[in-house]
Amino acid sequence: MSFEPRIIGILCNWCSYTGADLAGTSRMKYAPNVRIVRVMCSGRVDPTFVLKAFQQGADGVLIGGCHPGDCHYSTGNYKTARRIPLLKKMLDQLGIEDGRVRLEWVSASEGDRFQALANEMTEQVRALGPFRPAAPSKPAAMEVAALAAG
């Protein structure tokens, strides 16, 4: 069976999420691999969310915001535009490939762009293969829970 990547899309309410809605209302078909979590502004995206997604077994994370200058909250996307590159530099040190995290600007009118991005990223991540957070830890971490319970 071919590998079906699981990609989390964290999209801002005003532009990207609405762009994804538009892709839907326009009946544009795209890979079902991208699953969307809504935030009000891409500036709400805490790098913790990205790490959490990987820790929980996501194979890729797509962050979507309004185009520069168009942020509903004026400047939220600029903060994201600094955080995600810095996070990616750190993720590179952690062995996470560049293509697994993408920050993209999608406006409310760009349903086609969202469609293209979803497809493109799905294939990109499919090519990278499944993400496994780390080698299985040697200390039997699983036993910790059991010990704690007992």
Binding site: R82, R83, K89
Partner: protein, 323 residues
């Protein structure tokens, strides 16, 4: 009430925590008065078998310093857990992996290669010699502990009752913990024996609305002594680091490196620092983002200096799985 039985253990750490216990100076006598030491390999000659012979939960308190990166450390951690009523993760390495945790940014093989082949001090005959877990000699089998692929914080191996962070913990915090244990007035299990807020709360420097126009490394500037270091462009981990150290580094004009770990609500110290530093960096253009990336030379080593093992991803991903 009879004297308590205490154990102290040194796993993957530099040993500074052992010295820190002595930093309490004459109060060590109070400790001696309150407790009998049943294990302290650094200072006294006990054997693991002595501990193995003890009844479960017969040790009142174990102060365990160091992270776990070898089979011996794991074995003793489990042993001491079984024998101790109260397990204290003592110091940054036990609490969050500490400096040894940075080994998680590389692999076991890379480390061994570095130490036994590449290091300039290695003089060999062209046939590298690596430590072997098992060696058979005439007298019988010899065993060395196995070095693990990754470093873990103590609580990833055994349940921990209290955390006493710091690299090393300060004498004040040690005495707070000792007194609490001696008098039985213990905080709820899982508590971190340090402050609740972050370092900024006690930092004496003047803080203003934050913005950074350039990031410096500590050797590049001599910061003004009164002004917030982060505002001067030095990456200070204080805003995402639990208070309790008394801002010692700050008072020496050095930025906080984060050894006390994150405050309670923070899931991932490094992620939060990435977010905060990038947020206050001035400039919205691709050029300014590039400049920021250039200036922050080693984000993982900077933001996870003491917390790599404690982070959500814990370690560098090894190899490309699935291929």
């Amino acid at each position: 009430m009879g004297k308590q039985k205490w154990a102290l253990y040194w796993a993957a750490s530099c040993g500074g925590c052992e010295i820190a216990v002595l930093d309490v100076n004459e109060k060590i006598l109070d400790i001696a008065a309150a407790a009998d030491i049943v294990l302290w390999p650094c200072a006294m000659d006990f054997k693991y078998d002595d501990v193995r012979a003890m009844a479960d939960r017969s040790i009142d308190v174990c102060l365990f310093n160091g992270a776990i990166r070898s089979s011996e450390q794991e074995e003793i951690a489990r042993l001491l857990r079984a024998k101790s009523r109260v397990m204290v993760a003592f110091g940054s390495c036990a609490c969050t992996g500490g400096i040894p945790g940075l080994a998680n940014l590389t692999t076991k093989d890379e480390i061994l290669d570095r130490v036994y082949i590449e290091a300039q001090s290695v003089v060999g005959n062209g046939h590298p010699v690596f430590p072997q877990p098992h060696t058979r000699v005439a007298e019988g089998d010899l065993e060395l502990p196995v070095l693990y692929e990754e470093v873990s914080k103590l609580s990833q191996v055994i349940p921990v009752d209290y955390y006493l962070p710091g690299c090393p913990p300060t004498p004040d915090l040690i005495m707070t913990a000792v007194n609490a244990i001696a008098t039985g007035q213990l905080p709820p299990p899982g508590a971190v024996i340090a402050g609740e807020k972050t370092l900024c709360d006690v930092c004496p420097r003047v803080k203003q609305e934050k913005k950074i126009t350039r990031i410096y490394r500590p050797h590049q500037i001599i910061p003004e002594p009164q002004k917030c270091l982060l505002e001067q462009g030095l990456i200070c981990c204080g805003p995402a680091t639990r208070e309790g150290c008394g801002a010692q580094c700050i008072q020496a004009n050095m930025p906080c490196r984060g050894c006390f770990g994150p405050p309670a609500g923070v899931i991932d110290q490094g992620a939060k620092l990435v977010s905060a530093v990038a947020s206050i960096y001035e400039g919205d253009t691709p050029e300014s983002v590039a400049a920021m990336l250039e200036e922050i030379v080693d984000p993982a080593g900077t933001f996870y200096r003491y917390g790599m093992a404690d982070s959500l991803l814990k370690r560098k991903r090894v190899g490309t799985a699935g291929k």
